[in-house]
């Protein structure tokens, strides 16, 4: 093979080319793609539509890759003809290119059912990056969208459009959603979630026409209903692109027919991916394409041997935020169903067993066991001995057990096609020890991300120096990641730490999970929960900061760093009366009294007559200010008043980690707002709101969240970010890590650019939390517990003298 021409620049074709290059790096390759983009991950288009990923994030092979391998890349050229005798292909630009070997990887196209008016403006398929960009451009709050088709692709389109603010209706021909992957019960879970999200679902209905003149204005359904629609997305299925193969006179049924070595009926023409038909099956999922690509590369480069035996149809994905896994034959005909469901948790599991072997599986809401079922399906293992543990494996103390059960050849990452063996190889031979390194080195877990946990388990089990990139599971006491925990607490309406630990944990908890759970409950229930002081750090039990000798420091609130002579006098008196060891001005423009005994705290607070500055807790610390227009000749905004108001609005609230803020009256930035968690930077005619800054363990310049004209608007933008951080950050994650993890673009989308309903929700929850918050130092007068600040007194100490 000297000259290889590839028609189709998609995932299957390029996966095959990557394998061919490992066998034969010197082959001259020409690639034609009718799209104008380099190869990208088509599976992730739904994430692009949902705003979770940018175009660049889903690129699989950048231009540089083609260049490095000497590949001639022709984009925007559709190959319209092939001459199998003279061995040339012809493009729609009239170019004629000769080949020795031709690889057809033309994929599939959206199938448009017979509906009148599909040619109107506003009707889209959801198939390419261009489709997605156009949908993104046209979607937005108030836009009415109808998605025709309630299969996988249709639901992903619906979710993306809904996230963009559209009013979405899904019209589906069948009596349940995703009927190819889910049974009626499984589909009903998904249906419920869709409706909770505000997506309307109409089942058992056919669309007969798109209404409107030139532009789509609505759709008419078979039952006479008309729905208004600015956007119509057709996701009714796909058909293999076989036109070229027909012209090449290959054997074609539904797809291009290939044998187990991926050979077509012409020895010089090969085909791979969604356009082929193997043993009567056309695949529309990514895992089979990668398996085919490997086999074909061997065949094409003279290493004919490996055979493709078909793939157990399996899909594992996240639909509208719900994990879904479906594999094999899950119908209950001639099979015994084994099922579990928990409506409240949104978990549904069904396995079908025939003659002691697993033949199908459906998992909704929890797909963590999917690899086990996939292996059973592939190997046809006899399950009789483990019949009792099909759905719930016996608990194992050994965390490496799950990964130890997997064969080396088992695919861990289905998106990129990385096996367990390849990951172990990367760990041993290339010194990989973190998830980011693993991604860098093997690209595993760079696709949909559903294998991330498995990759981490493998790293943990195999890598000598495994380091977690980010703490995902809080701790062993409650083995869930924080996102899952928040969902559990919310859906199960759990309101006390002890309850959570008893139901979902080891019953006791530890110094790591208890404060984290305390925070989550406070945030989720806006302060309306059963606060358990025993679950909190000593600072939060006595509202002061413990020092290295067991005494405490006391910092009263001094909003915006502004105080009065009377306050200063009281502070001085207290310092003398209680013989505090040091009086210190802090970096936060406040005054610290150091070395106060626990039992003196209530008296110190009473004498100060000032509220708690919360300098001891994971909560709102202070707003540092400059004097602004009040005094400064350069000031452009009244930063002092803005800062004091900001402090009033957020004070007393708890946060995942401490939150320090500042307001400055001009870009000279005297109060260092650009290195604070939230900062307001005054400028002529408005404010810049900046977030995620730091000048502590890390030093980071804050990112610009938004620019606004009024102080009120600046405070509102700050409030949106503040509450968003409270709701989405992991416990002990500072804003600067949070903003880097989430990405400032997404933060903006979810806060200042979010729909009114979303913004309103954030502000409303913040308001509720604020309304229930109190000045902690009130407990000096009315302690929560009689001995909260006191030592116990021996009743009859004299006995010891006896």
């Amino acid at each position: 093979m000297t000259r290889l021409v590839v028609v189709g620049n998609g995932m299957a074709g390029m996966a095959c080319v990557e394998h061919i290059l490992t066998y034969q790096p010197d082959v001259a390759i020409t690639v034609f793609g009718d799209e104008t983009h380099t190869n990208y991950n088509r599976i992730l288009l739904s994430s692009v539509l949902a705003g979770e990923k940018a175009d660049d994030d889903i690129v699989l092979n950048p231009l540089d890759w083609y260049r490095r391998h000497g590949i001639r890349l022709c984009l925007g050229v559709r190959i319209v003809d092939v001459d199998p005798v003279r061995k040339t292909v012809t493009g729609d630009d009239a170019s004629v290119t000769p080949y020795d070997t031709l690889l057809i990887a033309t994929g599939s196209k959206a199938w448009f059912p017979p509906i009148q008016g599909l040619d109107k403006d506003g009707v889209f398929a959801f198939r390419t990056l261009d489709d997605t960009r156009e949908l993104l451009r046209r979607s937005g709050p108030g836009v009415k969208a109808v998605v025709i088709g309630g299969g996988l692709l249709g639901l992903e389109a619906a979710r993306g459009l809904q996230v963009q603010g559209c009013d979405v209706t899904v019209v589906h021909l069948m009596d349940r959603l995703m009927e190819r992957q889910l049974d009626a019960d499984g589909a009903s879970y998904l249906h419920g979630t869709m409706e909770d999200l505000g997506i309307d679902v109409l089942l058992g209905r056919t669309t007969i026409a798109v209404l409107g003149d030139e532009r789509a204005e609505g759709v008419a359904l078979s039952d006479g209903t008309c729905l208004p629609a600015d956007l119509v997305v057709v996701a009714a299925g796909i058909r293999p692109n076989v036109d070229l193969a027909v012209k090449a006179e290959l054997t074609v049924n539904r797809g291009i027919v290939v044998n187990d070595h991926m050979e077509t009926s012409d020895p010089d023409i090969f085909a791979v991916g969604e356009c082929v038909e193997h043993r009567g099956v056309c695949y529309g999922l990514v895992a089979p394409l990668f398996e085919q690509a490997k086999v074909l590369a061997a065949t094409m480069t003279g290493h004919r041997g490996p055979a493709y035996a078909g793939t157990v149809a399996a899909s594992k994905l996240k639909i509208v935020g719900v994990d879904v896994f479906s594999a094999g034959d899950w119908s209950e005909q001639n099979a015994e169903p084994v099922r579990f469901e928990d409506r409240a948790l949104g978990i549904y599991k069904k396995l079908t067993v025939r003659d002691g072997k697993l033949v199908g599986a459906i998992l909704v809401g929890d797909t963590s066991d999917s690899h086990r079922y996939m292996d059973w399906l592939r190997t046809g293992a006899d399950l009789t001995p483990q019949r009792r543990h099909l759905l719930f494996p016996p608990p194992v103390a050994d965390a490496g057990h799950d990964v130890a059960e997997m064969a080396e050849s088992t695919t861990v990452c289905g998106c990129v096609g990385v096996t367990k063996g390849a990951i172990i190889h990367a760990i041993h031979d290339r010194g990989v020890s973190t998830l980011s390194q693993l991604k860098e080195c093997t690209r595993a877990s760079t696709g949909c991300g559903s294998c991330t946990k498995l990759c981490q388990d493998l790293l943990r089990a195999v890598a000598p120096a495994f380091e977690e990139d980010a703490k995902r599971v809080i701790c062993g006491c409650v083995p869930f990641d924080e996102q899952a925990l928040r969902e559990i607490l919310r859906s199960q309406k759990l309101k006390s730490v002890q309850e959570v630990l008893e139901i979902y944990g080891n019953g006791t908890g530890c110094e790591i999970c208890k404060p984290a759970l305390s925070y989550m409950l406070d945030m989720l229930w806006c302060g309306d929960h059963d606060e358990d002081r025993s679950a909190r750090f000593i600072n939060d039990r006595v509202h002061a900061n413990i020092q290295n000798d067991g005494t405490f420091s006391v910092i009263p609130r001094m909003r915006g760093g502004v105080t009065t002579p009377a306050e200063l006098r009281r502070i001085a008196d207290v310092a003398e009366k209680y013989a505090v060891r040091m009086v210190k001005v802090t970096g936060s423009q406040r005054i610290d009294l150091l070395g106060v005994k626990k039992e003196d705290l209530p008296h110190v607070w009473a004498d100060l007559g000032m509220p708690s500055g919360q300098a001891y807790t994971k909560g709102v610390r202070m707003v540092k200010t400059c004097v602004g227009t009040e005094f400064c000749r350069f000031g452009t905004q009244d930063s002092t008043a803005a800062g004091i108001e900001m402090e009033r609005r957020f004070e007393q609230l708890f946060t995942p980690h401490k939150v320090k803020m500042a307001t400055v009256g001009c870009p000279r930035n005297c109060a260092e707002a650009t290195v604070k968690d939230i900062g307001l930077v005054g400028q002529e005619g408005g404010w810049q709101v900046v977030v995620g800054g730091a000048a502590g363990k890390s030093v980071r310049k804050a990112d610009l969240l938004t620019t606004v004209e009024t102080t009120e608007a600046a405070l509102e933008a700050s409030a949106l970010f503040f509450q968003y951080y409270r709701e989405h950050a992991n416990y002990l994650e500072r804003t600067y890590d949070f903003v880097e993890r989430i990405g400032i673009e997404k933060v903006r989308k979810d806060t200042v650019y979010a729909t009114e309903a979303v913004r309103h929700g954030l502000l409303d929850r913040l308001r509720k939390s604020k309304a229930r918050s109190t000045d902690a130092w009130q407990e000096g007068r009315t302690p929560r517990h009689r001995t909260q600040f006191l030592k116990l007194r021996p009743v009859d100490a004299h006995e010891v003298q006896a």
Partner: protein
């Protein structure tokens, strides 16, 4: 049988569940913990830097010092974290009679180091 002096130090409700309180008894600063109806007592001094163990968060079987996170076993008083640290703190027997918590101080030692009669 425990020899020593039993000292009444308060009532069960003086120590909230899963929290600790301090009691000073003739030269012993003792941390008393309520493990949900059962009480244990240790010297209130972390072997690391003398941190107040009574202010620590409890796990199933240990208390975590609030200063630097050393973890001390509640039954034996031995340091669990950092691993390999051999230090222990003194433990005191505790009993609850007639709604009163009492801790037992060891009998005073003689010059020879044996227990006094």
């Amino acid at each position: 049988m425990t020899t020593g002096h039993w000292i009444k130090i308060g009532h069960p409700e003086d120590v909230p569940p899963r929290e600790g309180r301090v009691v000073d008894v003739v030269g012993h600063e003792i941390a008393v913990f309520n493990l949900g109806g059962r009480f244990v007592a240790l010297a209130n001094r972390c072997p690391h830097r003398g941190g107040p163990l009574a202010d620590g968060i409890l796990t199933a079987t240990a208390v975590v010092c609030p200063l630097h996170g050393w973890k001390v076993d509640l039954r034996q008083g031995c340091v669990e974290r950092p691993a390999g640290e051999a230090a222990c703190v003194e433990t005191y027997p505790v009993r609850v009679d007639d709604d009163t918590i009492a801790v037992c101080l060891p009998a005073r030692r003689t010059a020879a180091g044996g227990e006094a009669a």
